[in-house]
Each structure stands twice: as C-alpha cells, then as structure tokens.
C-alpha cells in the first residue's frame, strides 16, 4: 500500500471527478425542473433538500405530467428507499454519531456509497472517500441545478425544444446501468407494462406507484436472481 498523502490525493481527485460527472445530471435536472413548471427557487430547493437524483426527476416528472402531490411524493420517496440500504452498508464503515450522522445521512447517495465501499479495507481512505465524494457531488450538483434552471428559463417553450422527450430519456439513462441481470430486465418490462395498462383507467401518477408492486413481487419470488454479489453498491 502506498503512503497516505498519495492515497489521499487519489481519493480527493476521484471525488472531484465523480462530482463533475454528476454535475451533468444536475444541469439536465435544472432545465427539466423549470420546464416542468417549478420555479428556479423550487428547482434549487429540491436539489439541496432531497439530494437524490432519481427521486428528484420522479417528483418533477409526475408533477409536470399532472399527477397529484401524493403520487408524486410517494413515487419519489419509494425511489429513495434504496438509500436506506446504502446507509446500512455504510454505518459500520463510517461509525458516525450525533451531528456527523445527521449531516452524513444527507450525503448517502449512489456515488458516495460506491466510492466508500471501493476503499472499505482502508479505514482512513473509506471515510475520506465518503465525505469528499458526498460533498463534491453536493456542491457541484447544486451549482449545476442552478445553472440548468437558469438556462431552462432562458430557453423558452419546453415542447418546441423537445424537453418533454428529455424527461423519459433521463429516466431511461438512470435505469440503463441497473439492467445488467436478466431478472432486472424482466422487472423493468413488467413494471412498464403494468404502468401503461393502468394509465387509461387510474388517476395520473397512480400507474407508476402501482408498478412498485412488481418490485415487491419480484423481490419475494426472485430474490436470489436479483441480489448482486457482495460489495456491489448499486
């Protein structure tokens, strides 16, 4: 193992790199947020307060499609449920209590978990990886959201710009890396079919929530096919 200053630099460099990469998501979230009818302040508040990308896209997407507050919130919170498993994985690696835990909890996301777990054999590096990645993503995600929201406001008519096609494309891009296993692909097809079948008969927003039932069913029946190997973060 190399010396600590060098490992520390490597961890910090990776953290900033991940932060810059997620900034691209933040940019599109900002533009889609204002296109979906949120104000710039509301779009930015979403990134600061929720700070979990897929849930934010879901909240805005369901609201913009005319879904009610309840179905938008339920869908977004269910999408955030995976963060509880990340927290579970992180609690023994980070050993945080009190204020550090309260702040750290907000930083529990895909990226900070993956970076922390990647250094799990090294107690100093894994803590640094979590905090540095979480903070880098937090800062750049929120700056990018603001930039995207301001740009979206300046752009004008969302339909003429194709922003209504950007929303499903964003969901698909978030879904894509999760489709490695066959069982996951079956869950995706089943959930999409359930949601489309219910669209004509259920209130807007409800079909997506109903698709969550497919996940529970699959979790109970195909649990071995769905579970990734040890150490996987997402």
């Amino acid at each position: 193992m190399t010396d600590w200053p060098r490992r520390r630099r490597a961890v910090l460099r990776d953290a900033v790199g991940v932060g810059v990469a997620t900034g691209a998501y933040g940019l599109s979230f900002g533009a889609i947020g204002v296109a979906g009818g949120l104000t710039v302040a509301q779009t930015c508040a979403t990134s600061v307060l929720m700070f979990t990308g897929a849930s934010q896209f879901a909240l805005v997407g369901v609201l913009a499609a005319g879904g009610g507050t309840v179905s938008a919130a339920v869908t977004a919170v269910l999408l955030g449920a995976r963060n509880a498993l990340y927290g579970l994985r992180l609690s023994s690696l980070l050993q945080v209590t009190g204020l550090r835990k309260a702040v750290g909890a907000q930083l529990v996301i895909d990226e900070s978990t993956a970076m922390c777990v990647a250094h799990e054999d090294d107690p100093s590096a894994r803590r640094l990886a979590f905090w540095a990645t979480g903070l880098a993503v937090f800062v750049l995600w929120n700056l990018a959201t603001l930039a995207g929201a301001l740009a979206g406001t300046a752009l004008g008519d969302p339909q003429a710009l194709g922003l209504d096609a950007a929303v499903p494309a964003a969901f698909l891009a978030l879904l894509w890396p999760r489709l490695a296993q066959r069982a996951a692909r079956l869950v995706a097809v089943g959930a999409a079919a359930v949601a489309l079948a219910l669209t004509p008969v259920a209130p807007v927003g409800v079909p997506v929530m109903a698709a969550a039932a497919v996940a529970v069913l699959a979790g109970v029946r195909w649990r071995d096919a769905l579970l990734p190997g040890p150490g996987a973060a997402s």
């Binding site: 897929a54 498993l85 579970l88 194709g162 964003a170 999409a192 529970v216």
Partner: protein, 102 residues
C-alpha cells in the same frame, strides 16, 4: 402545493437515508428486503420511462417523444454520457416537430 410536495418528499428521502445509518444491520438484512430494494428503482424508473414516453394525461399516444426516446436508446447503446443521451432525445423530438413530422 409544489412547496408542500418538495418538503414532504425531502423529509421522506432523508428519513430513509438516516434510517439506514441508524438501524442494526439485522433489521434490513433479509434477502427479500434487499432484493426488493434492488428491484424498486428498476420498476419505478421503467414505469416512469414508459408513462412519460406514451402518456398524455390518461390517454396513450405516439408522438415525437417516442422518436426522442428511440434516439436515447441508440445513444445508450453507444455508451454516450448522460447529458448526451438527454440532449439527443430532446434534439430528435424538437427536430421532428420543427419539420412538422410529429
């Protein structure tokens, strides 16, 4: 109402994060719970993709969004980064509309 939705959702999302850091590992360490947590984002993101591609309110239609999402699939197959995927989808849909095709 949007502020209420943001506040409630933010609280819910934070609660899940904090809960994970707080409970003993045994509570959530059941295979079906873990498998469901893996399947949940897959199911919800797939449902959101489908609905946002084909639904207008409570009816299903085929319009420029389908072309945009098809272009996004091509971009994903070519391993394009997120911003490119989203941009390609928007440009394709906007282009078709500008041409009056969809």
């Amino acid at each position: 109402m949007i502020w209420v939705a943001i506040a409630v959702t933010a609280l819910g999302c934070y609660a899940f994060k904090w809960f994970g850091l707080s409970v003993p590992e045994s509570v959530l360490d059941r295979p079906w719970v873990r498998a469901t947590a893996v399947a949940l984002p897959v199911a919800l993101l797939a449902a959101l993709t489908a609905v946002q591609t084909f639904a207008v309110g409570s009816s299903l239609t085929i319009d420029a969004r389908v072309a945009g999402v098809a272009a996004a699939v091509v971009a994903l197959l070519l391993r394009a980064p997120f911003l490119v995927v989203v941009g390609v989808a928007a440009l394709s849909a906007a282009g078709l509309r500008a041409l009056g095709v969809a």
